[in-house]
């Protein structure tokens, strides 16, 4: 496959007065090529001053998110298209070119206090957790915080809502037997009820998670309360 790939890449350095622009690059296609491969080829051969971010290149660090033809994706996972426009992930502030500032995202994580809020300190022995629940918590814990879902979520765009990834994290804590934080209240406070239930987040999550389901778990707690005064609503549903 020696097909040409034409990429239009967003260029902007907010530290200068220059307006954003799109630069066009032609790159030799390779089998199974990923968007990140194209970006790296552009950097190595044509635009040494391109700013972009990646680390693991295998969908685990969650730092390579970009928009390809308008849709948020992980650059290292998404297949390159013959024609594509590559832009930084919205709605985050751009540091330069394809790199966004995730400072505010980290502030939100910090503010949500996502370490378990324990009634008593950990005893230093094995803590009891139901094995199935342990897997479920681990599944929720696989979120790579890539912000793909937050970028795509229409409720984030229209309404006062932190975004799906944060709800998923709160849900993980809510499911955690040792945590006594007011996770449901936090979720509501951070806009959980604004969600449209559209499952865009579910469709685009590169880790095959469903933040929308996590939100529905919280909603059931709103409607029905929870069996043991804490978690239970989603467990019963699974």
């Amino acid at each position: 496959m020696s097909e040409r790939i034409r990429a239009e890449i967003y260029r902007h350095d907010p530290s200068t007065g220059d307006a954003p622009r799109y630069d066009r690059f032609d790159v030799d296609g390779e089998p199974e090529m990923r968007v990140l491969d194209v970006i790296r080829a552009v950097y190595e051969k044509e635009a040494g001053d391109l700013a972009f971010q990646y680390a693991c290149r295998t969908g685990r660090c969650g730092t390579c998110g970009v928009k390809v033809n308008g849709r948020p994706v992980l650059a290292c996972q998404e297949r390159a298209k013959a024609e594509m426009r590559i832009e930084p992930l919205t709605p985050f502030p751009v540091l330069r070119d394809l790199v966004v500032d995730r400072g505010e995202v980290e502030e939100r994580f910090r503010a949500l206090a996502l370490a378990p809020q324990r009634a008593a300190p950990h005893a230093g022995t094995r803590e009891a957790v139901d094995p199935i629940l342990a897997r479920e918590i681990g599944r929720l814990g696989s979120c790579i915080s890539c912000m793909i879902c937050v970028s795509a979520c229409p409720a984030v765009a229209e309404r006062p809502f932190d975004g799906p990834a944060f709800m998923l994290e709160l849900r993980r804590l809510d499911e955690h037997p040792a945590d006594h934080g007011p996770r449901l209240e936090q979720a509501v406070e951070h806009g959980m009820l604004e969600c449209f239930g559209c499952d865009i987040c579910t469709q685009l999550c590169p880790i095959d998670l469903s933040p929308a389901d996590a939100i529905r778990g919280f909603r059931r707690q709103v409607y029905f309360g929870s069996r043991d005064g804490k978690n239970g609503a989603t467990r019963q549903a699974r």
């Binding site: 990923r34 390809v68 996972q77 579910t202 469709q203 095959d208 059931r220």
Partner: protein, 130 residues
């Protein structure tokens, strides 16, 4: 082919339909469409006795009777059925999922579109044939 499903191939996320986005937009536009119909119809009914009739009300009456009620344009009426069907089913789906139903976005989207299209298509076809 094989009993065990593989995980999803998520390397073509930027291609194809974003079902959630289309569904939500359709729900919004069908909702607005229904509001449009209801507003026109209710105001017209409520103001039928007002005399002398200002131009606005005459136009409104014409709109209600000619376009909506008399179904001079069958497609408009078909669309109304579709709108009601889609909006109703989509809303039910959202509620059902909030209550714990586990439904796949893609299949439910097409199912709702298909179900909602039946009365509208039926209407257009039968009236059109007659």
């Amino acid at each position: 082919m094989s009993a065990v499903g593989l995980p999803r191939d998520s390397t073509r996320q930027a291609e194809g339909i974003l079902y959630g986005a289309v569904g939500r937009q359709l729900n919004r536009w069908t909702g607005i469409y229904i509001v449009g119909f209801v507003v026109v119809h209710v105001i017209n009914e409520a103001t039928l006795r007002i005399q002398p009739r200002p131009d606005v009300l005459v136009a409104l009456h014409a709109l209600d009777v000619e376009v909506w009620a008399r179904a001079a344009l069958h497609s408009v009426e078909g669309l109304l059925y579709f709108a009601v069907g889609f909006h109703f089913l989509y809303g039910l789906k959202l509620i059902a999922m909030d209550l714990g139903a586990r439904l796949d976005v893609r299949t439910t989207f097409w199912a709702i579109v298909a179900l909602a299209a039946i009365p509208g298509v039926w209407q257009v076809v039968t009236i059109g044939v007659r």
